[in-house]
Amino acid sequence: MRVVGLAALVAAGVAACAFAVQWAALPDAGNGNVAAARAAVWLGRYRETRAELTLGGRRLGATCYHGWIDGRRGRDRRGTALLLSNGDAIRALPPHSLLFTGIKPARPVAALEAAGCTKVLGDRLAELAQFAGTVRARRTRFDGTPALAVAFPHLTLYVARRTDIPVGVDTFRIAGRFRFVRPSPRAGAS
């Protein structure tokens, strides 16, 4: 019995010391990083957004869809399509192809991100949350509602204050506000 008690004491001591060292010496992730990671999770649950973009000083309506879209030569491909209210369109086909209808914007990927395109913005936020350093979230108002602003290099994300649902993005002078349209079938599973 004494042997078991001593063994348990050593194990408990080890666990307590190890926990204390981790607790004391490892930094906590920034609340901005956490908000961005949670926003990426929200984006992963949807495939379509309706957005309002300010692009080159012009205000445009936009719809962004991720899923099976028209690829090259009329073949369906998995990708993201952004349709602007002026008739222009940007299609992103993985891994690195961009197709344009109408005028090619100066920063097409930034336009996709500002429109809240779920896959494009989700991947970008996930990467920024993990690797862009510790970022603090700032309380602000976005579209008249309480929000948090998370300022990464070249991209500011706005999320709803309590839920971390992404509501807007400001990147490379393209500002966008967006809302999700309908959940993807995966939403229930996640």
């Binding site: 004494r2 042997v3 078991v4 008690g5 001593l6 063994a7 348990a8 004491l9 050593v10 194990a11 408990a12 080890v14 666990a15 307590a16 190890a18 926990f19 060292v21 981790q22 607790w23 010496a25 490892l26 930094p27 906590d28 992730a29 920034g30 990083n33 956490v34 990671a37 990426a40 999770v41 992963g44 996930a126 949350a129 993990q130 690797f131 350093g133 510790t134 996640s190």
Partner: protein, 365 residues
């Protein structure tokens, strides 16, 4: 004869082994560092990030080194469904933070830490091998460990060299009845890589012989350390299993049929990345070397621990990185030392070590 006179030859033998380990460490690491510097100057840089390109040895800080730096700099952040840093254990990032506090850069600190740890690993491995076999065998094993091709990972900003040092040190301490030290070393090792827990297998017979509570405490220590990590993840990320959840994003999910899944998935894995052949070859090599080690007289407990270290990762459904995981099984190197013509083996291994470092920009270790 005085006690001092009796101790003198043992001291001389130990000093010679130490010098031998130091010499092979310097030679082997020189090969690795020189190759990495040459690759940095003239080789491909596709997978190295900006902070690594700014360093002549930056290649050695790439791949998982970046993840360890992220944990050290910014702490853990779980991103469900995506690759995120809770998959990486905390001891190496903790030491990186300490090195950074002393003024070293993140990349340089990681590389220095790994390479100095490897010197400690060689010395402690020599000591352990000498106790289990003999002096000549220990020297052969140290020589081959120092130039083992997959041992390029011992110079990367990865925790493998540290873990090998802690495993060897922990068992040597236990064999000398210093159980609290053994508990501390093995617990620390588990906080760097969970495979350290398998080092408790050779500890069990020693604990049974000792019949002391503190000895069984040392056997339990790695599992207690593992529990402390889960507790920490629970406290900070609200998910005590964040480690395993993050692993899934790398395609690793442990199941009883994982090995069958890994074998069945070889053609598909080969189609997407032919480098899987390297990992399968190392898997077969490690198993063969464990068999050789057993024939050479390695204790069965060490063979069992080695087999678990090599085989268990495949139950996650993948052969990837087995070459690196197997480095933590000391018995593998006893098998290598049992091969005939060790100097020829060392020469071949040294050449392959250079090739391994040169191909680091193309494939993770």
């Amino acid at each position: 004869m005085s006690e001092l006179a009796l101790r003198a030859p043992a001291f001389r033998t130990r000093a010679r082994t130490l010098t031998w380990a130091l010499g092979w460490w310097a030679g082997g690491r020189l090969l690795v560092l020189a190759t990495a510097a040459v690759v940095d100057a003239v080789g491909p840089r596709g997978y190295t990030g900006g902070d690594e390109r700014g360093h002549a040895l930056g290649l050695l800080g790439a791949w998982d080194g970046r993840w360890y730096r992220t944990v050290a700099e910014h702490g853990y952040l779980l991103e469900p469904g995506r690759q995120s840093d809770p998959a990486f254990f905390p001891l190496f990032p903790l030491l990186l933070r300490a090195a950074h506090a002393l003024g070293l850069g993140w990349v340089a600190g990681g590389i220095l830490l790994a390479n100095l740890s490897f010197l400690a690993a060689l010395v402690l491995f020599a000591e352990l091998t000498r106790e289990l076999f003999d002096e000549a065998f220990a020297r052969r094993a140290v020589m081959l460990l120092a130039v083992f091709p997959a041992g390029a990972a011992f110079s990367l900003a990865y925790p493998e060299s540290l873990v090998l040092a802690l495993i060897a040190g922990g068992v040597v301490a236990a064999r000398r009845d210093r159980w609290l030290l053994a508990a501390a070393l093995l617990a620390a090792g588990t906080l760097a890589r969970p495979e350290t827990a398998f080092a408790t297998i050779p500890l069990v017979p020693l604990a049974r012989r000792s019949r002391r509570g503190v000895a069984w405490g040392a056997v339990a220590a790695p599992f207690a350390a593992l529990g402390s990590f889960a507790l920490y993840l629970g406290a900070t990320l609200h998910d005590p299993l964040a480690w395993t959840h993050a692993e899934r994003a790398w395609g690793r999910r442990f199941t009883p049929l994982g090995l069958a899944r890994a074998i069945a998935g070889v053609p598909q894995a080969f189609a997407s990345n032919a480098w899987v052949v390297r990992d399968i070859a190392y898997f077969a090599l490690y198993l063969a070397l464990l068999a050789l080690a057993y024939r050479a007289g390695a204790p069965l407990a060490w063979i069992a621990a080695g087999a678990l270290i090599v085989v268990l990762p495949t139950f996650s459904g993948s052969f990837h990185s087995i070459n690196r995981f197997g480095l933590l099984a000391p018995a593998v190197f006893w098998g290598l030392a049992a091969l005939p013509r060790p100097r020829v083996v060392a020469a071949v291994a040294g050449c392959l070590l250079v090739v391994t470092v040169a191909t680091l920009p193309l494939m993770f270790p």
